[in-house]
Structures are given as structure tokens and as C-alpha cells.
Symmetry: none
Subunit: 274 residues, 2 copies
DNA sequence: CCAAAGCGTTTCATTATTTGAACCGATGTT
DNA sequence: AACATCGGTTCAAATAATGAAACGCTTTGG
């Protein structure tokens, strides 16, 4: 590992909870030599990535990160982080992968990618996704701000027989989404379309969008669901990372558990076939 | 100079104009060895400060900077102090209010707020504000560190016919700014935009940023200028206070005098109308 | 169509920088 | 008054950074 990397890794110890860190605390956190750590800190300070509180002598994030973040925001649109991921998601699942961004109570499609595996495909032409009737929407509702749910309660339009149109029904569904980590819309928006979605987070660490796979309902079975879920988790982790966010600890754990049990399930499935 | 600093300095070559930089271009920019530069870039990429475009092989700002900026804002909440003030400033003037922070020789936009009074509005899309051609910049130059002015002298880019492009010209303008307490850019950056700015101070009691009103030039007259100036002074006092700084005695006095004469002016104006 | 130039990347002997145990002085703490 | 902890410094030994050269690949130009 290069000196540069080791030094920069010090930055990762800062968080909103641990905003200022002194030399001694760094030494304890990193269990690395004090003099070395000290020189790293001074280098980072010289570059503006850190700054030192002149009275407490502790270090905190420096002003340079704002400049860099500004350049990033101005030059790398959210779409770019999504485009890197959707083709893989679509190809691995054989279905339509799409990502959307949460803009004040509505989910606006950002980009999508259709697999060429089957000739029967789902196409996405909607200008905005209903929160209560799509996999993406349910994921956003379940893990987003409570105000989002509140605003949605007032406009539960019916699209199909499977659409949840009253608040109680919706809340029951969201309980399941929160327990599983996946928003599932089984033909709740459009007949014949089965959607599974997961939330996306940005640097504010709140839900900033969703990524989902929309499948032709007749192709859905336990095995395809397992593949879709595992690919969705990977996609969400990647996109969230590129947006400067982090998957909340609890959700990440939930997903890990689900994926483990899924892989063991598909193992028994394969065994039972054999 | 430490290896760490040399590596991190590569980040400063990125800007909104130069969003992606390849190895060869870096080599030319830094006139440093190719292999060394290459290893720096890889280290920065490994830390997430950079990311590589997989097709063009060029590098751009990485997602980590967003996370770091979020921590910085949580640690040193500059945005919060500004957001409290900008709506009032925009609404009272009917124009675009914006604030920026000074980060090593550049003014980085922090937040802005547009009034809804008129349909013709100034929009702020600039990634960074030139110091010699904007109200904010002139305010920062006039009341900031001399080294800031020195650095600016070397890059006086022309934007319009009104841009001051030689040091003497700029110094003359700054004399006026220092005498009045207001940085005025009459279509010096963009045709049709009239900007007035004042400096902001933080706990170090040096210029830490600027707050400004950008108006549609045709709407500008003595009365609107009087309103803008008085609102700007109030805004700067509030933001500076929330940043833990103080307006320098001399400047505060200057503003008080100006506001008094302005209100008497507008009094005589109203009297002359009556 | 081949040659040349440009690109990112790897190699390896030389060299310079990093490393860390020990130390220092200041500031609390028992 | 002894002790612990803090940020910061020193210096010989060790290790990681360095850069010329070469490599394979793509693009460009004649």
C-alpha cells in the first residue's frame, strides 16, 4: 500500500459523529506510529484536505473538499453513476433495468437499459413513477423520509387490481419492504409487469432515488428473483457509492442476510433438481 | 515536499472546464515523471478521490469527495448560516441572491436563491466566480489578503467589454470598493447582469466568502441599488455572525455611513418627487 | 499499407523518503 | 510531587518512491 493511500485513508475516519480527531486518537484508531500519523496529518493539512483547530489542536475536514466536491457535482452528473451499472444489471437479469431520482415527492426516471435476451420486453415510457405502485416507489417510501409517505397517502391512484389504494394497505406492504429490503410491485402498476426495486442514497444519506428491475411477470420464479435481488443489491451499492452516499447499516445487513439465505435456497433448489 | 502532498496536488488541476484529465495531459501539466504521476493517480483512484473513465482512461473527481464535503458541512456548517439569509435577500431585492466561500484563490458558490418577483431572472450556473469580474470577487479582493490580489493579477480573463483586464485598472476599481464597502460589477462578467457584493468573515476575521445580489441590468436604478446595498449589509452581518466572525470595525462604520446617506438620498428623492 | 507517434502501463536498479523508537516540553491528573 | 497524556521532534535504519527504458496497444499520417 502506497504512502499516499495510507495518508488519505485517515480522512475516512471522519464522520458526522466524529467530526474532529486529534493526533493521539488517530494513533489509537489506526494503530500506526505516531510520528508517521503526524506527518500524514500535516501533509493533508497543507493540501487543505484537513484543517487544524488552533485551540484544541484537533483536525477536521478542510475547505478544499468543498472545492473538489463542487467540481465533481458540476462535472459528473448522477446519470453517469447510473449508466455504469444498468447494462450489467439488465444483462445479468435478462430484463429491463432502470434508475430514477427522487425529486420532491416524485420519482423521475433517470436512465434505463433493456436486456436483449428475450424478445418480449418491458418498456419504460413513463415520465414519473408512482410511489405506491412500483418497486422503485415502494423502496423509496419504505426507506425515505416519513413526509414522503405522508404526501403519497393523499394520492393513491388505482392502476390495476393489485394497486394498493388505501393507506392501511400501503403501510402493510411497506412493512414487508422494510423487513426484506426490497420493494416488490407484482403487476401493481401495469398488468404483466413484475417490478423489484431498492433505494439509492446520496451524500446526505437519505434516499435520493431507486434502481429497479422490471420483468415480464410470466418469467418470474424463485430463481430469477434471487438473481434480480442479488444484482440489485450490487447495483444500489455501486450507484450509492458513486453519489457519495452510504447504504444505511441496517439495510446493508438486511441485504447481506437475504443474499446468503437466497444462495443457500438456490443451492437446495439445484440439489432438489439434481 | 512530501509524496502525499505531491499526489494530492494533482487534484487541483481539475476544474469545471477541465473535468477529465488523462495521464499524458497530467504529465504535460505537471512536468513530472510519467510513471510517478501514474502511480499517484492510481493511489488517488484507490482512495476514491479520483475515478477513471473506463473507455477514455482519463481521470475525474471521485465520489469520495462528496462524502468528505458532507462531513465538512456537518462540521463547519457554512451553508446553514447562508440559507437562513438568502431568501430574505432575494425577496427584498427581487433579484438573485447568492453566497460563496473563498477557498485558496477561488470563490466557490455555496448556495443561491432567486426571487420570483420578475419573470426575467439571473441564473447562476457558474462553477466558480472570477474574482476580478464579479461583485462578490471584487468585495473579496478589496477586503481580503493581499496575496489573493497578487494571485489574481496574473489571470485577468476578459469576459465582456467592461471586464478589467489589467492590474492598474483593477486596482483603481478596488480603491472604489474599499472606499464604498461594496463590490460592483456592471456587466463585467456577463452582459445584462449587474452584481453588487460584500465580503463575509469567519472566526479568523479574514475574508471567508462573499454574498451578492445579481440583478438584471435594465432593472437597476438608484433606488434599487439603495435597497440592495442595505439588504446586503444586513445579510453580511448575519452570515458573518453565524460563521463566528466579525465585520471589521472600519468596514462596519463605512457601511453605516453609506446606509445613512442612502436613506437620506432616497428621502430627498421622494421629496423631489412629491 | 506501413511507419511513426501517442497512449497507458510495467519493469528494475538506484536513490531518496519514509519510518518508528526514543525523546522533549507542556499541560493536566492523582 | 510523581505520573500520565498530549502534540510535536529527532535521527539512523529500512523501505518505498523514483524515473529511464521498454512494452503492447491504438491512432494518426504519408
Amino acid at each position: 500500500m502506497s504512502t499516499v493511500s495510507k495518508a488519505i485513508d485517515l480522512l475516512s475516519w471522519f464522520s458526522t459523529e466524529r467530526a474532529e480527531i486529534g493526533l493521539a486518537e488517530f494513533q489509537r484508531l489506526t494503530s500506526r506510529d505516531k510520528a508517521t500519523t503526524y506527518r500524514y496529518l500535516r501533509s493533508l493539512e497543507a493540501s487543505g484536505l484537513l484543517e487544524q483547530n488552533p485551540v484544541t489542536r484537533t483536525y477536521r475536514m478542510g475547505p478544499a473538499v468543498l472545492r473538489f466536491a463542487h467540481v465533481r457535482e458540476a462535472t459528473v452528473p448522477r446519470r453517469a453513476g447510473v449508466r455504469m451499472v444498468l447494462p450489467q444489471l439488465a444483462d445479468a437479469t435478462g430484463e429491463l433495468a432502470h434508475a430514477s431520482i427522487l425529486e420532491s415527492y416524485t420519482l423521475v426516471p433517470l436512465s434505463d437499459h433493456a436486456s436483449t435476451r428475450y424478445s418480449a420486453r418491458v418498456v419504460l415510457s413513463e415520465p414519473e413513477l408512482p410511489l405506491h405502485a412500483t418497486g422503485s416507489g415502494l423502496a423509496a417510501l419504505a426507506f425515505g423520509e416519513p413526509s414522503l409517505l405522508k404526501a403519497t397517502h393523499r394520492k393513491l391512484k388505482r392502476y390495476t387490481n393489485n394497486t394498493a389504494t388505501n393507506p392501511k394497505e400501503l403501510d402493510a406492504i411497506l412493512q414487508i419492504v422494510r423487513a426484506t429490503g426490497f420493494g416488490v410491485a407484482d403487476q401493481a402498476y401495469e398488468e404483466g409487469v413484475y417490478g423489484i426495486g431498492v433505494p439509492l442514497f446520496d451524500s446526505s444519506n437519505t434516499v435520493a432515488g431507486a434502481v429497479a428491475v422490471a420483468s415480464v411477470a410470466t418469467r418470474i420464479n424463485d430463481e430469477t428473483i434471487a438473481i434480480i435481488k442479488s444484482e440489485l443489491v450490487a447495483a444500489s451499492r455501486q450507484i450509492t457509492h458513486s453519489w457519495g452516499g452510504e447504504i444505511p447499516e441496517a439495510l446493508d445487513q438486511l441485504w447481506s442476510n437475504t443474499l446468503n439465505s437466497l444462495s443457500s435456497d438456490s443451492l437446495t433448489l439445484r440439489e432438489s433438481i439434481a
